[in-house]
Symmetry: C2
Subunit: 315 residues, 2 copies
């Protein structure tokens, strides 16, 4: 069948896209995320949006190959979305619930970072490769592994969670997850600011970073780009943590390509080069020449990946 | 076809086993590893041994489903054995060379730690699961990932190399691989002794470890078991590094089971419990209840895994 919907459920908005197998993304829009203790109200909103969209395009549910959904929590191999803090639900087989409520089948479900990785693999930076690791540098650090075109979900749904890899066994501050020393504490937007603030307090070195009212990850990378010495030291330290974590992950799955995405990755080639150099310093010569790329689909990676979930499984 | 050979090429000996699909391992023996700049002499030795074995069992090459081989170096997805320091060869498509020389086809080739993992998966500790990570604690630290019954090789052949995951970005001594802070520096037999020696020099605490002429990993774990306080501190530190590294790996592949093998794993349940506890302290609640097991096939994991390479691919 020719059409499908890709739905990306985030903590604040739900992005929805109508896709054609031949023509790709036809239209996209977003609605606010309705929060609650169970998913029915939100699924009803999605059902309404999808039915409206089918009507205005003169399409019927029979024209749909299915619906793909990305959600902000671990999703196990058998489709269970584990307790999602961001939205407020407990464990739920979201695909099954959505199929019953929306009366479309099949409905596929995946973790948002993993689905975004599938989006980049199928339609973005990874179109030419067979396997990739995507690392999403946003408020947190997410990740996803694609092997032979399929998301690696894992038995507990946590395959790809590179953000909570322990990178520093001697860290004293706590990560949001409760552990200490997670990559996220150094390489998320929040973590980068944390690292920078700590260094700013402990040194007298001059830096444009001192003059800022509100320090952000973007401003830190911008300062690095214009050659501010302290900002450069910081971005190199952060890149070293990231490069090491990616090297660690590649020692486990050894994919063909590494894709960097998420808001912070908009620091572009400057960031990509630094991270790739740090990666190369931390692996065997055999695997030093791995392909690195910036994500291409930006905020649409989730809906593209959700569409890929459908089109790769249904003819 | 009913029979195959499993061959495990090590730095000092080559283990060979004749397997029947129905009856399992029929006989096994070993020969010294002939070293050289290319594999032909060693392959000729293996050919001789295999032909002798077929003769004494009244079998012909036509009865063979194939031969599986494990080798001490990274093996890429397309079957290239990368430069093996232990034996002295450069990059070689060992399976193809062996097929030409031995006149048996197909001949499968895999990295020794990955093949051992497949052995445990098919015939040993992992018989009941669908995916596993095996960590081999020997002179070095090796590893292998099995997903849906297949070895995850990776594009460069380094998938599973958990021993060279960076666990301590502040380590000052160098690993054999040239990097600093690899798991192997803490959790290999050599690494454990290194850690213990360093602590012994820097503390006055009494310990039976001080009275030993030659400290070994086995003696360290034995001292921990009888309650020597310093040995316990050391085994807990080592287990923490191991548990963290396994947690890091599980955040990438999230398998159903973790198997600990290799000589040091003979410290048994005492070691397994400590490592599993350290693992659980370093992961999300979702994945804390992962299955942990000790390897069962010991030194035969390689030949069993090599046989599995054949039987899983050839009917």
């Amino acid at each position: 069948m020719e059409y499908c919907f890709g739905v990306d459920i985030g903590g604040t908005t739900v992005k929805i896209g109508l896709f054609s197998r031949k023509k790709g993304l036809l239209e996209k829009w977003e609605i606010p995320t309705r929060k609650g203790t169970e998913p029915t109200p939100l699924l009803k909103d999605i059902k309404y949006e999808i039915e409206e969209c089918l009507n205005r395009n003169d399409l019927k549910k029979e024209h749909l190959a299915g619906i793909g959904m990305a959600a902000p929590g671990p999703v196990t191999e058998d489709g269970c979305l584990r307790g999602t803090v961001n939205i407020g639900w407990g464990d739920v087989f979201l695909g099954n619930e959505a199929e019953d409520l929306i009366s479309v089948s099949p409905i596929f479900i995946g973790n948002d970072a993993r689905v975004a990785a599938l989006g980049e693999y199928t339609f973005g930076a990874g179109k030419e490769v067979n396997s990739l690791l995507m690392v999403t540098l946003g408020t947190g650090v997410g990740g996803g592994v694609i092997l032979n075109g399929k998301i690696l979900a894992g038995v507990s749904g946590t395959a790809g969670e590179i953000g909570h890899m322990t990178m520093n066994p001697y860290e004293e501050e706590q990560c949001n997850c409760g552990k200490k020393g997670c990559l996220e504490q150094y390489a998320s937007a929040q973590g980068m600011v944390r690292v920078a603030r700590k260094v700013l307090v402990n040194t007298d070195k001059p830096s444009v970073l001192r003059e800022m009212d509100v320090l952000t990850a973007k401003k830190l990378w911008d300062a690095g780009k214009i050659g501010d010495a302290l900002a450069l030291e910081l971005t190199e330290y952060i890149s070293r943590m990231l490069g090491m974590a990616i090297a660690n992950a590649c020692y486990i799955v050894d994919p063909e390509m590494v894709v960097l995405g998420g808001g912070v990755s908009q620091a572009g080639e400057f960031l990509l080069d630094m991270v790739q150099r740090a990666y190369a310093e931390n692996v065997f010569p055999h695997c030093r020449d791995k392909k690195f790329a910036l994500a291409k689909l930006r905020n649409d990676a989730g809906i593209f990946g959700a569409a890929a979930l459908v089109f790769q499984s249904v003819n």
